[in-house]
Symmetry: C2
Subunit: 505 residues, 2 copies
């Protein structure tokens, strides 16, 4: 092996990866466009474009060429010459390559068709609260996932293999422990809150709010957060999302409800948190598979940190409540800041996950986690899900769905085969609280927020988390930043302190 052959090979590999990233970016832009305003009649043809480009991308990830690159860079004397970044990249590509290679292409194709049909079936079933219409699809999806898990291999619980796709390294053993600890503290806290006579008045949150004013305030807060409008844009969609096409183009969307002052605002801050992560990935990672967030859990920790720990904090409203009052002249004249703050943090067990407050949200996730775990251990059957769902909601949240549309059918995830995704949301809450505790050792968080000086917070997070993209694992991130592995106690402490104050417990 000569120097020049190594360098040529590495260069070819970089080009190959950049090409893959280009396809990914093109597909990302097409999806953004489809959701934000592509004309209806062009969608059928556009979907074929997506199929074509995604198919090519998949082929590239499992091609003989990719295989040859990976074999070449795996040999010890070559691997030693790679810098740590490229060693990481090679191992990421290998993971992806092995995972994809183990599924027979024909079987994978069948799965793609199944999940796309299944999403349509789920939509109709949810609309009609008809679980039976969705059940056969869900059964097939679970069966195929079990088949794939056998092909991929697993350690301990079969569900671990699915968890690893969204949160590398996460296991049932770890989740049982952290969710157990969390539940043990959250349930009594919820009981105490429910018995408190000091309930916030929330009536003033529901008024008519002009859309242009909502938009103006959302844009203002985004700008305060340090969202870079030269590297992104805000649009309107039914389901808000953030998409990082490249670090110079990270777009977010929100939804304006005409009678709710908070929905668009907190939606924007949430997606803005995701966007800050993607905008601040190091330029060195552009064009590589590491130019993205490290895991769903860490990503969600950032959206939730900005939405809840900052956006729903008292210092935040100390700074911004006057601005909100000015933004909606006459609509909050007789509402004190403290009352607005308390209303914005109302805790109330409910049926729908995406409408849940900061405290009960974790219980919604635990229900789903318990069910997914049981499905993949074989201890429950798909047919029994509606009953189990309702039981667990009674058990965890004290509420029972009137029908499956607001119960087991409420989320899109399972229809697309995304088992193992739900825990990310609760992990995000736990990571966020743990990271905040370290952040407070370096910065006077409350003072900065109270002064409306949010950029140092963004800079701290960039240094500790954002810039690394996927070059560190979630475990490496949380350990490097906080000095310990995931620990649910910080979330418990944070919730206890916040709600004891609000509900005067």
């Amino acid at each position: 092996m000569t120097t020049s052959s190594f360098e040529t090979k590495l260069n070819d590999f970089k080009h190959y990866l950049k090409k893959m990233k280009s396809y990914e970016e093109a597909v990302g832009l097409i999806y953004w466009d489809m959701r934000t305003g592509a004309p209806r009649k062009g969608i059928a043809t556009r979907s074929e474009v997506v199929g074509e480009l995604s198919g090519e991308l998949f082929k590239m990830s499992v091609s003989d060429e990719m295989g040859a690159f990976l074999d070449y860079f795996a040999s010890p004397e070559v691997n030693d010459r790679l810098d740590p970044l490229y060693r990481k990249i090679v191992s990421e590509c290998r993971k992806e390559y092995d995972r994809s290679k183990k599924i027979p292409p024909k079987r994978y194709q069948e799965y793609v068709v199944l999940t796309s049909q299944s999403e349509a079936a789920w939509e109709a079933a949810k609309e009609q609260a008809d679980f039976a219409g969705f059940q056969p699809y869900l059964e097939k999806i679970v069966d195929m996932n079990l088949e794939f898990i056998d092909l991929w291999g697993y350690k301990g619980h079969k569900y671990n293999t699915l968890l690893d796709m969204y949160e590398p390294g996460m296991t049932v053993e770890k989740l049982d422990q952290v969710f157990g600890a969390l539940r043990e503290k959250v349930v009594p806290l919820l009981t105490a809150i429910q018995s408190s006579p000091h309930k916030p008045d929330t009536s003033f949150l529901k008024q008519e709010f002009d859309k242009e004013k909502q938009k103006r305030f959302s844009l203002y807060i985004l700008e305060q957060m340090g969202y870079d409008f030269e590297a992104g844009r805000l649009d309107e969609t039914v389901h808000p999302f953030a998409t990082g096409l490249n670090p110079g183009d990270v777009r977010i969307t929100t939804r304006y409800l005409p009678d709710d002052v908070n929905s668009a605002l907190f939606g924007t801050i949430h997606e803005g948190g995701h966007a800050l992560y993607e905008q601040n990935i190091s330029p060195d990672l552009i064009g590589t598979p590491l130019c993205t967030g490290t895991s769903m859990g860490i990503h969600e920790s950032q959206s939730r940190f900005w939405e809840n720990m900052i956006g729903r904090s008292r210092p935040f409203w100390t700074q911004y409540y006057g601005k909100l009052q000015n933004n909606y002249p006459g609509q909050f004249d007789h509402v004190a800041m403290e009352d607005f703050y308390r209303a914005t943090n109302e805790v109330k067990p409910s049926l729908i996950r995406i409408e849940a407050d900061e405290l009960t949200y974790n219980l919604h996730i635990m229900v789903r986690y318990e069910i997914e775990k049981a499905l993949f251990s074989g201890s429950v059957k798909v047919a029994d899900l509606p009953e189990i769902w309702n039981e667990k909601y009674r058990d965890y949240l004290g509420v029972v769905p009137a029908h499956n549309g607001e119960g087991v059918l409420q989320d899109v995830h399972w229809s697309g085969g995304a088992f193992g995704y739900f825990p990310s949301y609760a992990l995000g809450n736990m990571y966020a609280a743990q990271i905040m505790r370290t952040l407070r050792q370096d910065l006077d968080l409350d003072a900065l927020i109270r002064e409306g000086n949010l950029h140092p917070i963004k800079d701290w997070l960039t240094d500790k988390i954002y810039r690394h993209g996927k070059s560190l694992t979630p475990t490496e991130i949380i350990t490097q930043v906080t000095g310990e592995e995931l620990n649910p106690d910080y979330l418990v402490d944070y919730l206890r302190e916040k709600y004891s104050d609000i509900y005067r417990l």
Copy 2:
């Protein structure tokens, strides 16, 4: 050869073409996005995505696989079994394949780099009216085009090979004839107009016009034309354009000038004309290289037909002037419809092509045509262009640029190597007038416009032109529709009649 092998091959070929069309559509969407609001900081990476996808598309058009398809379908016994549509498709692909194959890839790559550098150089040169800064680029571009023409081959004049790229079948011989005839009639008409004492008052066209009102009126007229908003959308850009991504997604843009009532409106109608063409291509052609307009000239005939023959006609304003008055309350109270109509059709020789009126526009094109022809016959040198340009402007239009920025440097086309493109604009005017004359035999055009009943016009054009896409050549289209080849007399008659009336000649 068995039936099944033919059918398999044909099927594979269809998939191959569809894949190419998918790449083209993705690139089209990326360009649309870049122009309508992609964040600045993402552009560098996005340009690489475009490079990647365009590169793949080019490779597919000249691949061994494509070569094998074309050879297979060229053999007489196989070719006979193709339906006429696929026979046409095969011959289109062959033309493209041969053209691309004849240029050494390295040379082509150099040309791509040169033209992209050249566009930047042109922008700076135009800004500073500095022809010397652009001259070396233009010289190289002309030289490389001459080199390519030798590789491609040519019949008669070398320039014919360039003309054919935009207007298949068009030649210097034909253009000399039609432009000669046109000039012979247009110049005396212009002289007569300039001597007429009956000049329209245009002062009221320049007022402050609210952007939202301009937009509302533009959308209203688009809807009247039969533009399908479920298969398109209207956005705002500095340079208006239309882009047909697929027939179900044909987007247009316009530009709102704050002090001009006509600019955005006629820009929208113009792009709307292009869009009607693309929206109404037969669904049978989707996914094939024939799913586009047949030539630049025919395309331009449609934008100009809607913009000028309809939009600047008296029947149009008979119907829509009241609506315009209502759209801008108080701003046209004291302007009679007839005065508005005459103002909108003012003829005035000017320096800038894109601001020219319907009559003198053709003279701007002839200047460029004469220059391009001379460049490729070798009778003039790039260095002499500023002087020749100014001479020709004096000769054709009676005006002389004060500097090269408003003279020879005004258009972007040459900097990108688009020689042979300019004639399309004047061809469009001639085609449009010729088609209108046939249309009048079938429909009472004036009455339909006067009633605001434009859809039958769109339907007639769809039947005769739009639905065929590129499955007929421009010559086939014009001959089938009008019964004769391109004939400049119809444009002359139209202009003479229109302006004799307006200027009372």
